[in-house]
Each structure stands twice: as C-alpha cells, then as structure tokens.
C-alpha cells in the first residue's frame, strides 16, 4: 500500500484532463499560427482554454499569458515588470519565504542589473505583516512579490491586506492604478484550495501552474492586469502577443485549463475534506511522537499541508524509512538538497537549523484517505524512536518565539560570524547536550 503524500511537489494527472489533452497529442496536431483549419482548431482550443482560466480568475482572457512552468511565470513577472519600469525606480520587495523561482530572479536583478531588493520580515509562522510592507515601500519601489501560500510550511499570507496597503501607498503618493509599485503573488500552491478571484485579491500579477492542480507538467500561467506592462524574457515570433513566443504547447494548455477549472470548482469541498485529514494527522503525530514542533501557521494554513520538525533526527533518514513503509513525503533537511543548504523557509521562520534538518512535510491530495493518515500514524512513531536511538544528540526544545539568529545549538561549521573571529568549529555545541 503506497501513501503518496507529496502533492506540493506534484500531482497525478486527472483522467478527465488526460482525455481532454489526447486529441491535441494525436490528430489535432495543428500549429495554432497556421491559417488552415487544422491550425485554426488548435488556436480555438487555446483561446477556449484561456477563457476558462479567465473565468476562474474573474479576469479578461487577454490578461492571461501561458508559459512553460510556474517558475517561468514568476521569472516573467519579476524580471519583466522590474525591467519595464526601471526608469521609475529600481527597488523590489519580496518575502524571505518565496519559492526560488521568485528569489532567484530577484537576486539576479540585484547582482547584475543594479536593483535594490528588500526582504520583508516574517513572524515565526512565516506571516508577512502589511505594516512591514508599508514600511518597506519607497518612491523607488516597482514591484512587491509575496506568495499566496507557502509550499513548504503551508502558511497563507494576507494578500488582500497587502494589496490594500499598496493601494493606500499609491493614493498617498499620487500614483495611479497603472503606476508602480505593482503587486505579484505566486499562487501555485493556493490553486485548488483558496479563492483566486484577482479583483478580490487586489493583485496586479498572479502565477499558477499545471503540476499542482492535477494537470500536466510543463505549463504555467501568468495573470497580468490590464494596464500593467512588462518586458518579455524570450524573443521570437508573435505568439501570446509577443510576450511569450514559441509554438504553443496546445495539449498542455488545454489540459491545464481543464485541470484548473476542475480544481477551482471543487475547492470548497476538497479544502474541507483535506483540512479534517490534515488536522487528524497533525494532532495524531503530536500525540504519538515526543519533541515534535509544527512549522507554519496553525490556522492560516493550506488545507493539505503538514510540516513538522521531529527533533534529534534527520529528515532524509526519516524519508528513507517512510519510503520503505510505502509513504512518500518530503523534507527541508540540507542533506536532501542539491546545494546542501537547509530549507531557507524554515530558517527564515527564525528556527534553528536543526529544525530544518529535522523537518518532514506531508502534503495531502485528492487520493489521500483516512487509511493514508492511519499508515503514517502507525509508522512514524516507530521510525522516530528508532532513529532517536541511533542519534547522539538532544536538541533543546526551542519555543517558537525566538527570532532569526537564535541558533540554539550553535551555528553551522561553515558559517563565520560576521563580528567575531574567535568562534571556532563547535564540535560539541553549547546548548545541544550530547547524551551522557
């Protein structure tokens, strides 16, 4: 019996979506730019898809650009808007818990294009405060990007309040609606669970993608409110009004729109169903496993997200044991990343690095049932106990109130403290007692 609990990574293709896509992988192979009927039909399919997506957003179809991924949509939003308005200012504001698809282009703007980036503070749950956004805005700000819901710890951000804060700033500074600063949100994880009505949210740009909504991989969409301009990041023919050239992935676009519409249509029921499973999983683990801490907001949280730090043991090791037990999950441990960096999200919450190394994420989805929750509750306690018997450490139980920089059990050996030269390699860290 396999329990797939990594839906935040990707989701299985909905059979209805597959059925909708197949013609465009088979006899309907026309290039949408061609003048003959085979091409026209592909073109119609794309425009029907665009209209479907617009219905979910409550936007106009011409406010939607299809791209090759959520990452590409984020890049287009960040780079495209920043470059378009750089004559008016070169300041961008982001949260520290954004996906790398937002942070990396922002970092690129800072390193190579002379932009200033402000990283907002977050509380211990990862929530951005609209007050902090207001404090960060300057006359030079062109873009603010805060994700709707975080992929790692599930925290939902106060998007409407942040949008209002930016609107108020513009009013106070005599800026029109179509002048910077603009507000972008990455909603890839929110899709299928939260309301994506762009007018209600008050955003200028919004990213979604196919692989999180039981749609195909290799498709993203970007909502750009009419009146907001942006430079393309790719150059070629005239597809997508020249904003994202390249022969369209017709099957992908058709599939994405179908999946997106299905997911949004079922969101209230699915959110209710998964919230109950999520809460039973969280409370069940907290009951059965000692020294466990929830990461992310307890209530302003995605219905499908469970992220916990199981102290004294390491995430990859936990995943290997869970895999043997038929459970697929994820971790924020450094050992399981290509860069050997611990999850920047958990670190941004102000938690000690140990909490990142000990973190496990379960993200539920359509195929998740009570049996999956039962399986985890059955196996995880014994895995934790076993790995704790192998582990020599006992991390002090930090309470969530600590802010960034409170490294309970010592800094990692590679980090040189900026002010002190004396600190050597802590092989027996100050506060984590090695069991005597």
């Amino acid at each position: 019996m396999r329990a797939y609990l990594d839906h935040a990574a990707t989701t299985r293709l909905d059979p209805c979506v597959l059925a909708a896509m197949v013609p465009y992988l088979d006899e309907e192979f026309g290039n949408p730019s061609s003048i003959y009927s085979l091409g026209r039909r592909s073109k119609d399919a794309i425009e029907d898809a665009r209209a479907k997506v617009a219905t979910v957003f409550g936007s106009r179809p011409d406010e939607i650009v299809f791209t090759g991924s959520g990452t590409e949509s984020d890049n287009l939003a960040i780079l495209g808007v920043a470059r378009q308005y750089r004559a008016l200012g070169k300041h961008v504001v982001v949260s520290p818990i954004e996906h790398h698809a937002v942070l990396s282009p922002a970092k690129h703007l800072a390193k190579k294009e002379g932009f200033d980036i402000t990283t907002l503070p977050v509380d211990v749950f990862g929530r951005v405060s609209p007050k902090d956004v207001a404090a960060a805005l300057t006359s030079e700000t062109v873009l603010v990007s805060v994700m709707y819901a975080n992929n790692e710890v599930g925290t939902v951000e106060p998007i409407r309040e942040i949008a209002k804060t930016i609107r108020d700033f513009k009013k106070a500074n005599g800026r029109g609606e179509n002048e910077p600063p603009f507000f972008h949100t990455d909603a890839c994880q929110a899709a299928g669970y939260l309301d994506l009505d762009v007018k209600k949210l008050g955003v200028d740009l919004l990213t979604v993608n196919g692989s999180k909504v039981y749609g195909p991989k290799g498709i993203g969409a970007l909502f750009v409110r009419r009146g907001v301009k942006f430079e393309p990041i790719m150059f070629g023919g005239g597809q997508e009004k020249g904003l994202r050239p390249g022969t369209e992935n017709v099957a992908g676009i058709v599939g994405f729109a179908e999946a997106f519409q299905i997911a949004d249509g079922g969101r209230d029921a699915e959110s209710a169903r998964l919230s109950a499973l999520r809460d039973r999983l969280i409370s069940g683990i907290l009951e059965r496993v000692p020294k466990v801490e929830l990461n992310g907001h307890p209530s302003e949280r995605l219905p499908n997200n469970v992220n916990l730090s199981i102290l004294d043991i390491e995430g990859e090791a936990i995943l290997l044991y869970l895999d043997e037990a038929g459970i697929s999950a994820a971790t924020g441990s450094a050992c399981d990343s290509s860069s050997l960096d611990p999850s920047h999200v958990i670190v941004a919450l102000g938690k000690p690095y140990e909490y990142a190394h000990a973190s496990i994420r379960f993200t539920l989805g359509r195929e998740t049932t009570e049996r999956d929750v039962d399986l985890v509750l059955e196996r995880l306690p014994e895995v934790a106990e076993l790995l704790r018997s192998i582990s020599p450490i006992e991390v002090k139980d930090g309470r969530g109130g600590e802010t960034a920089g409170a490294f309970v059990a010592g800094r990692p050996h590679w980090e040189k403290p900026k002010d002190s030269r004396q600190e050597g390699n802590p092989s027996t860290p100050p506060d984590a007692s090695v069991r005597k």
């Binding site: 990594d6 390491e314 290997l320 399981d336 990343s337 059990a409 590679w414 090695v434």
Partner: protein, 224 residues
C-alpha cells in the same frame, strides 16, 4: 534596506537534485543495507571504563553529528570494539556502520593500520556514494581520529597523536585550508561557491589564487 538574503540553490552541478520533484540519487544496496541494518551501534550508555576513548564531531546545525567510542587491546594494539551514534542522513548512518565494521572485522584492525584508512576506502566498501554525500564518510573518519588521538593521549603515546592544524589562507577573514576543504565537501566548486558557503566576502584578494588552487586540489582529492 536589508540585503537580499543569499538563499539560492547551486547551479552547474552535474547531479541535478530537484527539491520540488524529489528526484534523487540511487543508494547502492550496500548503503541501504547498512542504513536499515546498522552494525556496531552503541545501544545503551556505556558503563564507566567500558571504553578507552571517545570522540564527537559535527554539529546539529550542520545536520551531522557523530559520536564514537573506541576500545583498544593494549597488548596487541588491535581495535577491540568501536561503536557509534549518528545524527544524520542515510549516507551518514551507513558510513558510520561501514567504518565500524571495517575496523572491527577479522578480530579487529591494528590501530596503526586503522589510522591509515581514508574516507575513500569507506566509500569503496559502500559501493560508492553520491558526490554530495562524500562528506559523511569524511566525518566518520574524523570522529575516529578524534577518539584515536584521545586514546593515544590517555595512554601516554603522545608521539602517535595526529594533529591536524589548519593553515590560514585568508588572513583578514581567518579562513583556513580546512574551511576550504569543508566547503568543497559541502558542494562548492568555484570561488563564488566557497564564499557563499563560508558566508564571507573577499577579505584578502591576494589569497584568491591560493583559495582557487585549494578548491582544485580538494575537488580532485574527493571527487576524482
């Protein structure tokens, strides 16, 4: 205005690990065996005097801590027992187990031989480790050496103590060759990578050629 925090993943690594899709390396059967059936685990707290020496390396903040206990037969200078506890990933646990097996099998390795073991020997017995996991095998080696040194000091064999002194490469920032070695083991391949890993800027520009030479040297040493 606060600086953009440095938090982007490495690029240009031959082995692509996608955090989102969890596409991961393949562990050899030997690694899996030692992970799921670890040998020579220190099950309970040892009694007073049961072992001759111990050593602890790593830090919880790094995600790796290894604590080892060593017992040597003084008459034969052979390792009578070697046990361990590890906080770390699959590779860390498997490397600890394999190292313990290597030094205790066949009646126990002579201490003089055991100190000649290199991380590469452990990796070979494990059937290979992914590049970014090589540092796990280095860590168990360091833990052993710490315990071995403690044993030699405790038994008055100070001539056998192996001292590893870090040579300072960047005097302004007090970066040693060991720091570079650690950074390379943690996946750094360029000067920029090392600076990111060590979270420092350029202290002494004159040190750059030496830092780059060390990066090349350690990359060759560990990754071939």
């Amino acid at each position: 205005m606060t600086d953009m925090s440095d938090c982007c993943a490495d690029h240009g690594q031959a082995e692509v690990e996608n955090r989102a899709t969890k596409e991961r390396w393949v562990y050899s059967d030997t690694v899996k065996d030692h992970f799921f059936h670890p040998r020579n685990l220190m099950a309970e707290e040892p009694k007073e005097g049961e072992f001759d020496a111990e050593g602890t390396v790593g830090s919880p903040a790094c995600g790796d801590v290894m604590r080892v206990w060593l017992k040597v037969d003084r008459a034969t200078d052979r390792i009578a027992d070697f046990r361990w506890k590890t906080f770390g990933c699959g590779s860390a646990i498997a490397a600890s187990s394999m190292f313990a097996l290597m030094v205790t099998e066949n009646g126990g390795m002579a201490l003089a031989e055991a100190v000649k073991l290199r991380p590469q020997d452990v990796i070979a017995r494990l059937g290979g480790l992914p590049n970014r996991k090589i540092h796990c095998s280095v860590l168990i080696d360091k833990a052993f050496r710490k315990a071995a040194n403690a044993y030699c000091r405790a038994t008055g064999q100070t001539d056998r103590v192996q001292v590893e002194e870090g040579r300072i490469v960047d005097s302004r920032l007090q970066i040693t060759d060991h720091d570079i070695e650690e950074a390379v083991l943690e996946g750094a391949t360029t000067l920029e990578d090392v600076q990111r890993k060590l979270k420092v800027g350029v202290g002494d520009p004159a040190a750059i050629p030496e830092i780059e030479r060390l990066i090349t040297e350690y990359s060759k040493k560990y990754y071939g």
